[in-house]
Symmetry: C2
Subunit: 217 residues, 2 copies
DNA sequence: CATGATGGAGAGTTCCACTCTCCAGAGATG
DNA sequence: CATCTCTGGAGAGTGGAACTCTCCATCATG
Protein backbone atom coordinates (compact mmCIF):
# COMPACT_ATOMS: atom_id res chain seq x y z
CA UNK A 1 0.00 0.00 0.00
CA UNK A 2 1.23 3.51 -0.72
CA UNK A 3 1.19 6.45 1.60
CA UNK A 4 -2.05 7.84 0.17
CA UNK A 5 -3.88 4.65 1.03
CA UNK A 6 -2.29 4.54 4.48
CA UNK A 7 -3.62 8.05 4.96
CA UNK A 8 -7.10 6.99 3.88
CA UNK A 9 -7.14 3.90 6.06
CA UNK A 10 -6.13 5.80 9.18
CA UNK A 11 -7.72 9.16 8.55
CA UNK A 12 -4.42 10.91 9.11
CA UNK A 13 -3.09 13.51 6.62
CA UNK A 14 -0.16 12.40 4.50
CA UNK A 15 1.90 15.24 5.95
CA UNK A 16 1.35 13.92 9.44
CA UNK A 17 2.37 10.40 8.46
CA UNK A 18 5.54 11.74 6.90
CA UNK A 19 6.20 13.66 10.08
CA UNK A 20 5.80 10.53 12.20
CA UNK A 21 8.20 8.71 9.86
CA UNK A 22 10.81 11.44 10.28
CA UNK A 23 10.25 11.47 14.00
CA UNK A 24 10.88 7.74 14.35
CA UNK A 25 7.35 6.93 15.55
CA UNK A 26 6.40 4.97 12.45
CA UNK A 27 8.81 2.46 10.98
CA UNK A 28 9.80 3.13 7.34
CA UNK A 29 8.01 1.20 4.61
CA UNK A 30 9.72 -1.35 2.40
CA UNK A 31 11.74 0.70 -0.12
CA UNK A 32 11.18 -0.23 -3.76
CA UNK A 33 13.09 2.72 -5.22
CA UNK A 34 14.95 5.78 -3.95
CA UNK A 35 11.69 7.63 -3.55
CA UNK A 36 9.17 4.87 -3.33
CA UNK A 37 8.07 2.54 -0.54
CA UNK A 38 5.16 0.30 0.34
CA UNK A 39 3.43 -0.05 3.69
CA UNK A 40 1.54 -2.92 5.27
CA UNK A 41 -0.97 -3.67 7.98
CA UNK A 42 1.66 -3.21 10.65
CA UNK A 43 1.86 0.43 9.64
CA UNK A 44 -1.88 0.87 9.92
CA UNK A 45 -1.79 -0.75 13.32
CA UNK A 46 1.14 1.34 14.49
CA UNK A 47 -0.59 4.55 13.47
CA UNK A 48 -3.68 3.46 15.37
CA UNK A 49 -1.51 2.80 18.41
CA UNK A 50 0.10 6.21 18.12
CA UNK A 51 -3.23 8.01 17.91
CA UNK A 52 -4.62 5.97 20.77
CA UNK A 53 -1.70 6.78 23.05
CA UNK A 54 -1.91 10.47 22.10
CA UNK A 55 -5.66 10.94 22.29
CA UNK A 56 -6.84 8.56 24.99
CA UNK A 57 -3.64 8.46 27.01
CA UNK A 58 -2.64 12.07 26.45
CA UNK A 59 0.99 11.05 25.88
CA UNK A 60 3.44 13.37 24.15
CA UNK A 61 5.08 12.18 20.96
CA UNK A 62 8.40 11.86 22.79
CA UNK A 63 6.82 9.51 25.27
CA UNK A 64 5.10 7.58 22.50
CA UNK A 65 8.46 7.15 20.83
CA UNK A 66 9.78 5.54 24.01
CA UNK A 67 6.81 3.22 24.10
CA UNK A 68 7.13 2.04 20.51
CA UNK A 69 10.88 1.60 20.94
CA UNK A 70 10.16 -0.68 23.88
CA UNK A 71 7.64 -2.59 21.80
CA UNK A 72 9.99 -2.90 18.83
CA UNK A 73 13.23 -3.72 20.63
CA UNK A 74 14.06 -7.29 19.56
CA UNK A 75 16.63 -7.68 22.36
CA UNK A 76 14.02 -7.15 25.08
CA UNK A 77 11.20 -9.66 25.43
CA UNK A 78 8.81 -11.11 27.92
CA UNK A 79 8.66 -9.57 31.33
CA UNK A 80 11.47 -7.12 30.58
CA UNK A 81 9.52 -5.81 27.60
CA UNK A 82 6.41 -5.31 29.69
CA UNK A 83 8.46 -3.47 32.27
CA UNK A 84 10.11 -1.25 29.66
CA UNK A 85 6.75 -0.40 28.12
CA UNK A 86 5.19 0.38 31.49
CA UNK A 87 8.13 2.59 32.39
CA UNK A 88 7.80 4.46 29.11
CA UNK A 89 4.15 5.16 29.95
CA UNK A 90 4.99 6.88 33.22
CA UNK A 91 4.38 10.60 33.40
CA UNK A 92 7.72 11.37 35.02
CA UNK A 93 10.71 12.30 32.92
CA UNK A 94 12.88 14.87 34.69
CA UNK A 95 15.90 13.17 36.25
CA UNK A 96 16.87 16.02 38.54
CA UNK A 97 20.20 15.67 40.40
CA UNK A 98 18.44 14.55 43.61
CA UNK A 99 20.08 17.22 45.74
CA UNK A 100 17.96 19.94 44.14
CA UNK A 101 14.74 18.07 44.92
CA UNK A 102 12.87 19.85 47.70
CA UNK A 103 13.25 18.13 51.08
CA UNK A 104 9.52 17.52 51.56
CA UNK A 105 9.42 15.95 48.12
CA UNK A 106 12.33 13.70 48.97
CA UNK A 107 10.72 12.63 52.22
CA UNK A 108 7.50 11.86 50.39
CA UNK A 109 9.38 9.75 47.85
CA UNK A 110 11.11 7.78 50.58
CA UNK A 111 7.82 7.18 52.29
CA UNK A 112 6.24 6.05 49.03
CA UNK A 113 9.13 3.67 48.42
CA UNK A 114 8.81 2.18 51.88
CA UNK A 115 5.08 1.78 51.33
CA UNK A 116 5.60 -0.06 48.04
CA UNK A 117 8.51 -2.23 49.15
CA UNK A 118 7.75 -2.95 52.80
CA UNK A 119 4.07 -2.58 53.35
CA UNK A 120 2.85 -3.87 49.98
CA UNK A 121 5.86 -6.06 49.34
CA UNK A 122 5.70 -5.44 45.63
CA UNK A 123 8.63 -6.35 43.46
CA UNK A 124 9.19 -3.39 41.16
CA UNK A 125 12.43 -1.97 39.85
CA UNK A 126 13.82 0.98 41.75
CA UNK A 127 13.61 3.12 38.63
CA UNK A 128 9.90 2.51 38.06
CA UNK A 129 8.36 5.91 37.31
CA UNK A 130 5.32 4.99 39.39
CA UNK A 131 7.47 5.34 42.51
CA UNK A 132 8.15 8.96 41.79
CA UNK A 133 4.59 9.66 40.73
CA UNK A 134 3.45 8.20 44.04
CA UNK A 135 5.92 10.35 45.94
CA UNK A 136 4.77 13.46 44.11
CA UNK A 137 1.14 12.63 44.89
CA UNK A 138 1.92 12.14 48.56
CA UNK A 139 3.82 15.43 48.69
CA UNK A 140 0.93 17.24 47.03
CA UNK A 141 -1.61 15.78 49.45
CA UNK A 142 0.53 16.73 52.39
CA UNK A 143 0.89 20.26 51.16
CA UNK A 144 -2.86 20.80 51.59
CA UNK A 145 -3.18 18.60 54.68
CA UNK A 146 -0.07 17.92 56.79
CA UNK A 147 -1.66 14.96 58.60
CA UNK A 148 -1.66 12.76 55.50
CA UNK A 149 0.67 9.79 55.39
CA UNK A 150 1.17 6.83 53.09
CA UNK A 151 -1.63 4.87 54.74
CA UNK A 152 -4.08 6.95 52.77
CA UNK A 153 -2.86 5.04 49.72
CA UNK A 154 -3.85 1.66 51.10
CA UNK A 155 -7.30 1.39 49.54
CA UNK A 156 -5.89 2.54 46.20
CA UNK A 157 -3.15 -0.05 46.33
CA UNK A 158 -5.76 -2.68 47.13
CA UNK A 159 -7.92 -1.64 44.20
CA UNK A 160 -4.91 -1.47 41.88
CA UNK A 161 -3.75 -4.92 42.88
CA UNK A 162 -7.18 -6.42 42.52
CA UNK A 163 -7.60 -4.92 39.06
CA UNK A 164 -4.15 -6.15 38.05
CA UNK A 165 -5.13 -9.66 39.12
CA UNK A 166 -8.35 -9.47 37.12
CA UNK A 167 -6.43 -8.23 34.12
CA UNK A 168 -3.73 -10.87 34.14
CA UNK A 169 -6.30 -13.58 34.63
CA UNK A 170 -8.66 -12.61 31.90
CA UNK A 171 -6.55 -10.93 29.24
CA UNK A 172 -2.92 -11.78 29.23
CA UNK A 173 -1.15 -14.90 28.12
CA UNK A 174 1.38 -16.35 30.53
CA UNK A 175 4.33 -15.74 28.26
CA UNK A 176 4.16 -12.31 26.63
CA UNK A 177 5.08 -12.14 22.99
CA UNK A 178 5.69 -8.90 21.10
CA UNK A 179 2.02 -8.70 20.36
CA UNK A 180 1.08 -9.15 23.99
CA UNK A 181 3.35 -6.29 25.04
CA UNK A 182 1.44 -4.01 22.74
CA UNK A 183 -1.85 -5.33 24.09
CA UNK A 184 -0.70 -4.63 27.62
CA UNK A 185 0.20 -1.07 26.64
CA UNK A 186 -3.14 -0.47 24.97
CA UNK A 187 -5.13 -1.91 27.83
CA UNK A 188 -3.09 -0.09 30.45
CA UNK A 189 -3.53 3.29 28.84
CA UNK A 190 -7.16 2.91 27.83
CA UNK A 191 -8.29 1.36 31.08
CA UNK A 192 -6.41 3.99 33.09
CA UNK A 193 -8.54 6.55 31.29
CA UNK A 194 -11.69 4.49 31.78
CA UNK A 195 -11.02 4.01 35.47
CA UNK A 196 -10.43 7.71 36.00
CA UNK A 197 -13.67 8.51 34.18
CA UNK A 198 -15.55 5.93 36.26
CA UNK A 199 -14.09 7.37 39.46
CA UNK A 200 -15.39 10.81 38.55
CA UNK A 201 -18.78 9.39 37.67
CA UNK A 202 -18.93 7.43 40.90
CA UNK A 203 -18.11 10.54 42.90
CA UNK A 204 -20.77 12.53 41.14
CA UNK A 205 -23.25 9.72 41.70
CA UNK A 206 -22.48 9.56 45.40
CA UNK A 207 -22.67 13.33 45.77
CA UNK A 208 -26.09 13.26 44.10
CA UNK A 209 -27.37 10.45 46.30
CA UNK A 210 -25.98 12.03 49.46
CA UNK A 211 -27.59 15.38 48.74
CA UNK A 212 -30.89 13.62 48.10
CA UNK A 213 -31.01 11.74 51.40
CA UNK A 214 -29.71 14.68 53.42
CA UNK A 215 -30.57 17.78 51.42
CA UNK A 216 -28.46 20.78 52.25
CA UNK A 217 -28.32 24.32 50.84
CA UNK B 1 1.79 40.81 51.36
CA UNK B 2 3.17 42.19 48.13
CA UNK B 3 3.76 40.31 44.92
CA UNK B 4 7.47 39.77 45.64
CA UNK B 5 6.64 37.95 48.86
CA UNK B 6 3.92 35.94 47.13
CA UNK B 7 6.56 34.92 44.62
CA UNK B 8 8.94 33.87 47.40
CA UNK B 9 6.31 31.93 49.31
CA UNK B 10 5.23 29.93 46.27
CA UNK B 11 8.48 29.69 44.37
CA UNK B 12 6.83 31.08 41.25
CA UNK B 13 8.42 33.96 39.30
CA UNK B 14 6.67 37.32 39.61
CA UNK B 15 6.14 37.32 35.85
CA UNK B 16 4.24 34.05 36.07
CA UNK B 17 2.04 35.34 38.89
CA UNK B 18 1.23 38.42 36.84
CA UNK B 19 0.39 36.16 33.94
CA UNK B 20 -1.99 34.10 36.07
CA UNK B 21 -3.63 37.31 37.27
CA UNK B 22 -4.17 38.48 33.71
CA UNK B 23 -5.43 35.04 32.74
CA UNK B 24 -8.07 34.99 35.46
CA UNK B 25 -6.54 32.03 37.33
CA UNK B 26 -5.56 34.06 40.37
CA UNK B 27 -7.99 36.54 41.88
CA UNK B 28 -6.72 40.13 42.05
CA UNK B 29 -5.27 41.39 45.32
CA UNK B 30 -6.91 44.08 47.40
CA UNK B 31 -6.10 47.35 45.62
CA UNK B 32 -4.62 50.09 47.81
CA UNK B 33 -3.75 52.44 44.95
CA UNK B 34 -3.92 52.46 41.13
CA UNK B 35 -0.75 50.43 40.97
CA UNK B 36 -0.58 48.79 44.34
CA UNK B 37 -2.29 45.78 45.84
CA UNK B 38 -1.84 43.37 48.73
CA UNK B 39 -2.28 39.61 48.70
CA UNK B 40 -3.19 37.16 51.42
CA UNK B 41 -3.03 33.48 52.32
CA UNK B 42 -5.84 32.73 49.92
CA UNK B 43 -3.55 33.80 47.08
CA UNK B 44 -0.78 31.51 48.28
CA UNK B 45 -3.25 28.66 48.52
CA UNK B 46 -4.71 29.37 45.11
CA UNK B 47 -1.28 29.35 43.50
CA UNK B 48 -0.54 26.04 45.17
CA UNK B 49 -3.79 24.67 43.81
CA UNK B 50 -2.95 25.89 40.31
CA UNK B 51 0.50 24.27 40.35
CA UNK B 52 -0.91 21.07 41.77
CA UNK B 53 -3.56 20.79 39.08
CA UNK B 54 -1.00 21.56 36.39
CA UNK B 55 1.84 19.36 37.61
CA UNK B 56 0.17 16.39 39.26
CA UNK B 57 -3.06 16.44 37.30
CA UNK B 58 -1.57 17.56 33.99
CA UNK B 59 -4.44 20.00 33.44
CA UNK B 60 -4.14 22.83 30.96
CA UNK B 61 -4.51 26.38 32.23
CA UNK B 62 -7.83 26.68 30.43
CA UNK B 63 -9.12 23.67 32.32
CA UNK B 64 -7.73 24.99 35.58
CA UNK B 65 -9.57 28.23 34.97
CA UNK B 66 -12.81 26.25 34.70
CA UNK B 67 -12.02 24.48 37.96
CA UNK B 68 -11.27 27.63 39.94
CA UNK B 69 -14.37 29.31 38.50
CA UNK B 70 -16.41 26.39 39.79
CA UNK B 71 -14.74 26.73 43.18
CA UNK B 72 -15.26 30.48 43.32
CA UNK B 73 -18.79 30.73 41.98
CA UNK B 74 -20.85 31.99 44.93
CA UNK B 75 -24.11 31.04 43.21
CA UNK B 76 -23.20 27.36 43.06
CA UNK B 77 -22.75 25.46 46.29
CA UNK B 78 -22.93 22.03 47.78
CA UNK B 79 -23.54 19.13 45.46
CA UNK B 80 -23.85 21.37 42.41
CA UNK B 81 -20.42 22.82 43.14
CA UNK B 82 -18.87 19.37 43.44
CA UNK B 83 -20.48 18.40 40.15
CA UNK B 84 -19.26 21.54 38.40
CA UNK B 85 -15.73 21.01 39.68
CA UNK B 86 -15.70 17.35 38.63
CA UNK B 87 -16.96 18.29 35.18
CA UNK B 88 -14.24 20.89 34.82
CA UNK B 89 -11.67 18.18 35.61
CA UNK B 90 -12.79 15.96 32.75
CA UNK B 91 -10.38 15.59 29.86
CA UNK B 92 -13.06 16.11 27.22
CA UNK B 93 -13.67 19.52 25.75
CA UNK B 94 -14.60 19.31 22.06
CA UNK B 95 -18.36 19.65 21.62
CA UNK B 96 -18.48 18.37 18.08
CA UNK B 97 -21.84 18.66 16.27
CA UNK B 98 -22.67 14.97 16.98
CA UNK B 99 -23.32 14.17 13.30
CA UNK B 100 -19.60 14.38 12.51
CA UNK B 101 -18.71 11.90 15.26
CA UNK B 102 -17.67 8.58 13.71
CA UNK B 103 -20.41 5.93 13.88
CA UNK B 104 -18.32 3.48 15.93
CA UNK B 105 -17.57 6.25 18.40
CA UNK B 106 -21.25 7.09 18.69
CA UNK B 107 -22.15 3.45 19.25
CA UNK B 108 -19.48 3.19 21.94
CA UNK B 109 -20.83 6.29 23.68
CA UNK B 110 -24.35 4.91 23.65
CA UNK B 111 -23.11 1.65 25.08
CA UNK B 112 -21.16 3.48 27.78
CA UNK B 113 -24.25 5.52 28.66
CA UNK B 114 -26.37 2.40 28.92
CA UNK B 115 -23.72 0.81 31.10
CA UNK B 116 -23.64 3.77 33.47
CA UNK B 117 -27.38 4.39 33.63
CA UNK B 118 -28.87 0.90 33.39
CA UNK B 119 -26.30 -1.58 34.55
CA UNK B 120 -24.67 0.53 37.25
CA UNK B 121 -27.71 2.65 37.95
CA UNK B 122 -25.58 5.68 38.70
CA UNK B 123 -27.18 9.10 38.87
CA UNK B 124 -24.93 11.39 36.87
CA UNK B 125 -25.86 14.30 34.66
CA UNK B 126 -26.06 13.55 30.96
CA UNK B 127 -23.35 16.10 30.28
CA UNK B 128 -20.79 14.51 32.63
CA UNK B 129 -17.50 14.40 30.72
CA UNK B 130 -16.79 10.96 32.17
CA UNK B 131 -19.51 9.57 29.90
CA UNK B 132 -17.67 10.65 26.82
CA UNK B 133 -14.31 9.57 28.16
CA UNK B 134 -15.79 6.16 28.82
CA UNK B 135 -17.20 5.99 25.31
CA UNK B 136 -13.85 6.97 23.84
CA UNK B 137 -12.09 4.31 25.89
CA UNK B 138 -14.56 1.67 24.78
CA UNK B 139 -14.15 2.68 21.14
CA UNK B 140 -10.36 2.53 21.46
CA UNK B 141 -10.45 -0.92 23.03
CA UNK B 142 -12.78 -2.18 20.32
CA UNK B 143 -10.51 -0.88 17.60
CA UNK B 144 -7.79 -3.26 18.71
CA UNK B 145 -10.14 -6.08 19.68
CA UNK B 146 -13.65 -6.13 18.19
CA UNK B 147 -15.00 -8.59 20.78
CA UNK B 148 -14.79 -6.09 23.62
CA UNK B 149 -18.04 -4.80 25.08
CA UNK B 150 -18.99 -2.68 28.08
CA UNK B 151 -18.83 -5.68 30.42
CA UNK B 152 -15.05 -5.31 30.42
CA UNK B 153 -15.62 -2.14 32.45
CA UNK B 154 -17.40 -3.95 35.27
CA UNK B 155 -14.40 -4.54 37.54
CA UNK B 156 -13.27 -0.94 37.03
CA UNK B 157 -16.70 0.38 37.93
CA UNK B 158 -16.66 -1.79 41.03
CA UNK B 159 -13.26 -0.51 42.07
CA UNK B 160 -14.25 3.09 41.33
CA UNK B 161 -17.42 2.79 43.37
CA UNK B 162 -15.66 1.15 46.26
CA UNK B 163 -12.99 3.87 46.32
CA UNK B 164 -15.66 6.57 46.14
CA UNK B 165 -17.36 5.04 49.16
CA UNK B 166 -14.09 4.94 51.09
CA UNK B 167 -13.42 8.53 50.16
CA UNK B 168 -16.79 9.91 51.15
CA UNK B 169 -16.67 8.01 54.42
CA UNK B 170 -13.27 9.05 55.53
CA UNK B 171 -12.66 12.48 54.04
CA UNK B 172 -15.71 14.44 53.15
CA UNK B 173 -18.16 16.24 55.30
CA UNK B 174 -21.81 15.63 54.59
CA UNK B 175 -22.52 19.18 53.51
CA UNK B 176 -19.77 20.53 51.27
CA UNK B 177 -18.69 24.08 51.90
CA UNK B 178 -16.49 26.09 49.55
CA UNK B 179 -13.45 24.68 51.23
CA UNK B 180 -14.66 21.12 50.86
CA UNK B 181 -15.17 21.58 47.13
CA UNK B 182 -11.53 22.50 46.81
CA UNK B 183 -10.55 19.51 48.94
CA UNK B 184 -12.57 17.22 46.71
CA UNK B 185 -10.83 18.63 43.65
CA UNK B 186 -7.37 18.19 45.16
CA UNK B 187 -8.04 14.67 46.34
CA UNK B 188 -9.65 13.66 43.08
CA UNK B 189 -6.77 14.85 40.96
CA UNK B 190 -3.96 13.68 43.21
CA UNK B 191 -5.48 10.32 43.96
CA UNK B 192 -6.27 9.75 40.28
CA UNK B 193 -2.55 10.14 39.68
CA UNK B 194 -1.66 7.94 42.64
CA UNK B 195 -4.06 5.23 41.55
CA UNK B 196 -2.68 5.21 38.02
CA UNK B 197 0.85 4.96 39.40
CA UNK B 198 -0.17 2.12 41.71
CA UNK B 199 -1.82 0.31 38.82
CA UNK B 200 1.38 0.44 36.84
CA UNK B 201 3.40 -0.73 39.82
CA UNK B 202 0.97 -3.56 40.48
CA UNK B 203 1.21 -4.69 36.87
CA UNK B 204 4.98 -4.63 36.97
CA UNK B 205 4.94 -6.54 40.24
CA UNK B 206 2.65 -9.20 38.85
CA UNK B 207 4.70 -9.52 35.67
CA UNK B 208 7.81 -10.00 37.79
CA UNK B 209 6.17 -12.62 40.00
CA UNK B 210 4.68 -14.47 37.04
CA UNK B 211 7.99 -14.67 35.22
CA UNK B 212 9.63 -15.99 38.38
CA UNK B 213 7.19 -18.85 38.95
CA UNK B 214 7.01 -19.79 35.29
CA UNK B 215 10.21 -18.50 33.69
CA UNK B 216 9.91 -17.97 29.99
CA UNK B 217 12.39 -16.69 27.40
C1' DC C 1 13.99 62.96 46.72
C1' DA C 2 16.52 59.07 44.81
C1' DT C 3 15.95 54.20 44.53
C1' DG C 4 13.62 50.28 43.78
C1' DA C 5 9.16 47.76 43.65
C1' DT C 6 4.44 47.59 41.63
C1' DG C 7 0.38 46.87 38.42
C1' DG C 8 -0.78 46.68 33.90
C1' DA C 9 -0.21 45.79 29.12
C1' DG C 10 2.20 44.39 25.00
C1' DA C 11 5.68 41.91 22.68
C1' DG C 12 8.86 38.17 22.52
C1' DT C 13 10.33 33.23 23.46
C1' DT C 14 10.25 28.29 23.63
C1' DC C 15 8.27 24.05 22.84
C1' DC C 16 5.18 21.01 20.66
C1' DA C 17 2.63 18.99 17.02
C1' DC C 18 1.76 19.47 13.14
C1' DT C 19 1.32 21.58 8.10
C1' DC C 20 3.18 23.53 3.95
C1' DT C 21 6.42 23.95 0.26
C1' DC C 22 9.70 22.34 -2.64
C1' DC C 23 12.21 18.98 -5.29
C1' DA C 24 13.95 15.14 -8.18
C1' DG C 25 12.49 10.80 -9.28
C1' DA C 26 8.58 7.02 -10.12
C1' DG C 27 4.30 5.48 -11.81
C1' DA C 28 0.20 5.69 -14.40
C1' DT C 29 -2.31 7.44 -18.61
C1' DG C 30 -3.16 8.62 -23.30
C1' DC D 1 6.94 9.38 -25.52
C1' DA D 2 4.63 13.40 -23.03
C1' DT D 3 2.14 14.65 -19.26
C1' DC D 4 0.26 14.42 -14.96
C1' DT D 5 -0.05 12.85 -10.39
C1' DC D 6 2.19 10.75 -6.55
C1' DT D 7 6.25 9.73 -3.63
C1' DG D 8 10.02 10.19 -0.08
C1' DG D 9 12.81 13.39 1.96
C1' DA D 10 14.00 17.64 3.95
C1' DG D 11 13.37 22.43 5.32
C1' DA D 12 10.57 26.12 6.59
C1' DG D 13 6.32 27.89 8.41
C1' DT D 14 2.12 27.85 11.59
C1' DG D 15 -0.70 28.11 15.66
C1' DG D 16 -1.49 27.29 20.34
C1' DA D 17 0.13 26.92 25.11
C1' DA D 18 2.70 28.66 28.82
C1' DC D 19 5.42 31.42 30.09
C1' DT D 20 9.10 35.47 30.09
C1' DC D 21 10.69 40.08 29.04
C1' DT D 22 10.27 44.97 28.45
C1' DC D 23 8.36 49.20 29.34
C1' DC D 24 6.20 52.80 32.00
C1' DA D 25 3.75 55.77 35.13
C1' DT D 26 3.08 55.35 39.83
C1' DC D 27 4.04 54.36 44.51
C1' DA D 28 6.61 53.30 48.99
C1' DT D 29 10.72 53.87 51.58
C1' DG D 30 14.96 55.22 53.49
Amino acid sequence: MRIAELSERTGLPVATIKFYLRDGLLMPGAATAPNQATYGEEHVERLRLIRMLAEVGGLSLGRIRDVVRAIDDPAVRGQAAVRAALHALGPVRDGLPAEVVAPDERRARDEADRFVDDELGWQVSSSAPGRRALGAALAALRRSDPDVDASILRPYARAADWLASEETESFEARVPTDDVVQRVVVRTVVLDAALTALRHLAREHRAAVASRTAPAG
